[in-house]
């Protein structure tokens, strides 16, 4: 039986680019020369995106299937990777960490995410999850001289591996209950106790990756310690992979078990939105605040999953795309700030930003408004869709929790945006604008506004995914 590798072409390209990037350090000495490899990696990402865009359906055995959901989320993942690369270049060159390994890690975890969203088999999902996670563990510790970075990577590794082990045990239980690890067999399975326990463990494992409450405790420390461009990248990509997998697993494969998993997902979603937003209120460290904000957004994404209907599925896809733009942007602004030789990561460090760079402060305000869910940004449109899906799925209470927590989130997002306009700047804080990151931020800001003002095309694109619902 000949195996057709063509559906996997985009992943292969990205993986090959990752290996090339690893070799970059061997063959190049200066930062300039490495820029070539960085460009090669970007080109590879672009090529892969084009391949995904033009690819139709396809399957690789029973493990992997390229369908609407997979294509949509792979594009988002590739965009996140491109954004992450753009944001990283200037920062890394500035702090002297400009090595090909960084780009290799970014590309490898992107491959993991791409495989995760297209996997049709739970064991394959586990492998893809590891492929996504392990490079992220290393990325968290990339700042070799920073104690906090090493602590972050250690914590991330320990807790992440723990969650993966839980997930694997769940997969084993599902295997025992259905006689197969494939989603196809799962689709018709009845909800026996081992199956439900196994699924629960799988959800826990994926929930950890997405920073869902109560598995979110690693996020603030890891986000605070890891280098800013790495945080920008991992905060979005992990959600793309995990939420994509959850979407495929629950509403798409197990709609007949909805009464079993909907209450759990709804409860997780509500808890995540509440805890994430309340905890963010108390933070004075901007990275920790954005970490809790990230947690809360996992909650909003779960609303779409919990709704269990077609609207929930495509609104989650839409929100992932919107979230990619606004979160990369929010963290991206941080890559420019430096205080006393290290990252400036307090909210107070934003002061005076408007005087030094009005465009940057305005972009930051746009990202904060989008994260809050204010029109006319993509974040608002996404939340509107998600809450509409919740209403359609009979989860009015969840929608109410969602809107109330969105109001609460105003307090900390707007406080940060406001700080950017208060002068004078904090002593010792310096702004290092970089051309590539500037491009990345510009694209993010434009996308955030564009998807908010003209949501039609992106909505149509996301809705194609809903056709998968059985």
């Amino acid at each position: 039986m000949t195996v057709d590798l063509r559906p996997l072409a985009p992943e292969v390209v990205v993986a090959a680019a990752a290996l090339l990037a690893l070799l970059a350090d061997v063959f190049t000495r200066t930062s300039r020369a490495r820029a070539v490899w960085w460009l090669v990696a970007l080109v590879a990402l672009g090529w892969a995106a084009g391949a995904v865009w033009t690819a139709g359906e396809g399957a690789f055995g029973v493990l992997y299937a390229r369908d609407g959901l997979a294509n949509a989320l792979q594009l988002v993942g590739l965009a996140v990777a491109a954004g992450g690369m753009l944001l990283a270049r200037d920062y890394l060159a500035r702090v002297g960490l400009d090595r090909g390994e960084y780009y290799a890690l970014v590309l490898l975890s992107t491959v993991g995410a791409m495989l995760m969203v297209a996997s049709q088999d739970l064991l394959f999902l586990f492998v893809a999850l590891e492929t996504l996670s392990v490079p992220l563990y290393v990325l968290a510790g990339f700042a070799r001289d920073s104690h906090r970075s090493q602590e972050a990577s250690l914590k991330y590794f320990l807790l992440g591996s723990f969650a993966s082990a839980l997930l694997l045990y769940g997969v084993a239980l599902v295997y025992g209950a259905t006689g197969s690890t494939g989603l196809a067999r799962l689709a018709g399975a009845e909800g026996s106790f081992p199956l439900l326990v196994g699924l629960g463990l799988v959800v826990v494992g994926l929930g950890f990756k997405a920073a869902v409450v109560p598995f979110h405790a690693w996020a603030p420390d890891v986000y605070e310690g890891a280098p800013v461009p790495a945080v920008a990248f991992m905060s979005v990509l992990a959600k793309v992979g995990a939420v994509g997998a959850l979407v495929r697993l629950l509403p798409l494969t197990l709609p007949h078990l909805l009464p079993a998993w909907q209450p759990l997902l709804a409860a997780l979603s509500a808890a995540t939105m509440v805890v994430g937003n309340l905890a963010a209120l108390r933070q004075t460290n901007l990275k920790r605040m954005l970490a809790y904000s990230s947690v809360s957004h996992a909650g909003y994404l779960l609303v779409g999953v919990a709704a269990g209907n077609g609207t929930g599925v495509w609104s989650a896809v839409y929100y992932l795309a919107a979230y990619a733009a606004m979160n990369l942007g929010a963290f991206g602004v941080l890559t420019f700030l430096e205080r006393a030789g290290v990252e400036a990561d307090e909210v107070e460090d934003l002061r005076g930003l408007a005087d030094r760079s009005p465009a940057l402060a305005a972009a930051f305000a746009v990202f904060m408004a989008s994260l809050t869910g204010l029109p006319p940004t993509a974040g608002f449109v996404g939340k509107f869709y998600l809450f509409m899906a919740a209403l359609q799925g009979g989860l009015l209470w969840l929608a109410v929790v969602g809107v109330i927590t969105s109001v609460v989130s105003v307090a900390y997002y707007l406080r940060a945006a406001y700080a950017a306009y208060l002068g004078p700047g904090r002593a010792g804080v310096r702004l290092h604008p970089g051309p590539w990151a500037g491009v990345g931020l510009g694209v993010s800001a434009a996308a955030t506004l564009l998807f908010g003002v003209l949501p039609g095309p992106l909505t149509t694109w996301a809705q194609r995914v809903a056709a998968l619902l059985r």
């Binding site: 009005p358 204010l374 006319p376 509107f384 209403l391 929608a399 809107v403 109330i404 003209l454 909505t459």
Partner: protein
């Protein structure tokens, strides 16, 4: 072929803002460009006002385009007799506010003007949007510019006031968002013109109405949801206060008329007595508290609560006089309270304090200013000959027809408003001239121009309100008929209303 006049009116300030963003930071240039930009909607809306057909109850001008095609959400703007006066008011107040406070703001002038122009687009869009989702976008889009306007250029407690304003208003509107989503799911459309023709599920109507009403009640504001207003009005920069009081509050009253009465006529009829009561409470409470204020700007803020109580009363009287009076009062309040805030701004520029006790005998030192101020105060107190009288008289007439007791109580409010206003005038403008007041600079050209423009409108509407009333008459009649007809259709005892 659509002429896209409405869209041009709405978005010309936005275009102006884009142009402004690219200009160099030369304050005078920026101010001139901003003013020129704000005159475009004024010209267009004045032309629309002149062109407006009388006796046309529906949306005689509309523009429609597909917006979010997959969901059938459209970009739909429309103007009728109810939105016309408010659009004209908006287009008029922004240039007046700009002129009146020409160089009061000297820091970050570019951002300040940008935010004002963005605000104008958002406010105009709110009054013209006929698709509920589009309406919501414009409604919320007002919040961020206003937040920054208060927070960056306001007075001592600006950060607190700005955040309070934001949180209060948004807390109400998010439930409206859920109601809009619910309406969309239930009827398959978010378009106002289609919703009014679609029967709504009865069970849900109460919740939906309540959600909309909550959002609008916070904005108006209706007591006891008003606590954000005194702080926001007081701490905002003068132009911000003018816009906030003159226009943003009208978004709430407009919403009550357009959506609460328009989409939920049965619910409106059922809730009318409660709202009329709340209106009267607002009138009396606002006036009483205004009387006790030592800060002149806060006094004016509470007078807003009181005046808008009349609007709520007139709206929920559910008869043509009441509604027409309420609509006219919306315009009147914008003019008179906008002017009051400009007055306070003039005083503050000179005294750098808003405490009533710091003033005395201003009329002796600035006679022109005192004359203009008196006209404004008379308008606010609803003296015959001023616009306030026409509006309040109509409201009281309508309220009397609905329920004489509320009208009587409201009339007491008219007396109270005269009390605190005239007392304020006495303490600030008359009496012995305080030494600080002697040093006041005379009225400057731009301040006089703005105040004069407002006073002219005060007299125009006061002496010849016919053009205004005639243009909204048909729409008002149609709406009242729709609300009260729903009463008879369901066999409820309506009485002669």
């Amino acid at each position: 072929m659509t002429s896209w006049v409405l869209s041009t009116t709405v978005f010309s300030p936005l275009v102006g803002a884009a142009v402004l963003a690219l200009l160099p930071r030369r304050d005078e240039l920026l101010r001139v460009v901003a003013l020129a930009t704000s005159l475009v909607p004024l010209a267009l809306s004045a032309w629309l006002f002149w062109q407006a057909p009388r006796g046309e109850p529906g949306f005689w001008l509309a523009e429609r385009a597909s917006w979010v095609a997959p969901l059938g959400i459209t970009y739909h703007l429309g103007m009728d007799g109810i939105s016309l006066p408010l659009v004209v008011l908006t287009a008029f107040l922004f240039p007046v506010a700009l002129v009146g406070t020409w160089d009061a703001v000297r820091t970050r002038v570019k951002e300040y003007l940008l935010l004002l122009l963005l605000l104008e687009t958002a406010v105009l869009g709110t009054f013209l949007a006929l698709d509920l989702v589009l309406f919501y976008v414009f409604w919320e889009a007002v919040l961020v510019p206003m937040y920054f306007l208060i927070g960056l250029w306001g007075s001592e407690r600006r950060a607190y006031a700005a955040l309070k304003f934001f949180l209060f208003t948004m807390a109400g509107s998010v439930f409206m968002l859920l109601a809009i989503a619910g309406l969309y799911l239930a009827t398959g459309t978010s378009d106002f013109t289609r919703l009014v023709a679609t029967p709504l599920p009865r069970a849900a109507q109460g919740y939906l109405f309540a959600a909309f009403a909550l959002a609008f009640a916070i904005k108006v504001p209706i007591v006891p949801l008003h606590t954000w207003l005194p702080d926001a009005h007081t701490e905002a920069p003068t132009a911000g206060s003018v816009i906030l009081a003159g226009l943003l509050l009208k978004m709430g009253t407009y919403g009550l008329v357009r959506f609460c009465l328009g989409v939920f006529p049965e619910m409106a009829r059922g809730a009318a007595p409660a709202f009329m009561a709340l209106g009267v409470v607002g009138i009396l409470y606002g006036a009483a508290v205004a009387y006790t204020q030592p800060d002149v700007k806060r006094l004016v803020a509470y007078s807003s609560v009181s005046h808008l109580g009349f609007v709520v009363l007139g709206t929920f009287a559910l008869n043509p006089q009441g509604l027409a009076g309420a609509l006219l009062q919306m315009v009147n309040h914008g003019i008179s309270t906008g002017a009051l805030f400009l007055m306070v701004g003039v005083l503050y520029e000179r005294a750098h304090t808003r405490a009533l006790e710091a003033f005395g005998g201003v009329a002796r030192v600035m006679p022109t200013f005192a004359a203009l101020s008196l006209f404004v105060v008379f308008s606010s107190a609803a003296l015959p000959g001023t616009n306030g009288f026409v509006g309040e008289f109509l409201v009281l007439l309508g309220a009397f027809r609905a329920d004489p007791r509320w009208a009587a109580a409201a009339a007491g409010g008219v007396v109270l408003s005269a009390v605190y206003l005239l007392w304020m005038v006495q303490r600030v403008y008359f009496g012995p001239v305080r030494p600080e007041v002697r040093t006041f600079a005379p009225l400057r050209g731009h301040e006089a121009t703005a105040l004069l423009a407002l006073v002219v409108v005060v007299l125009w509407i006061g002496l010849y309100p016919r053009p205004w009333l005639a243009r909204s008459e048909a729409a008002v009649q149609a709406l009242v008929h729709r609300v009260t007809a729903s009463v008879e259709a369901h066999g409820l005892a309506g009485g002669a209303r």
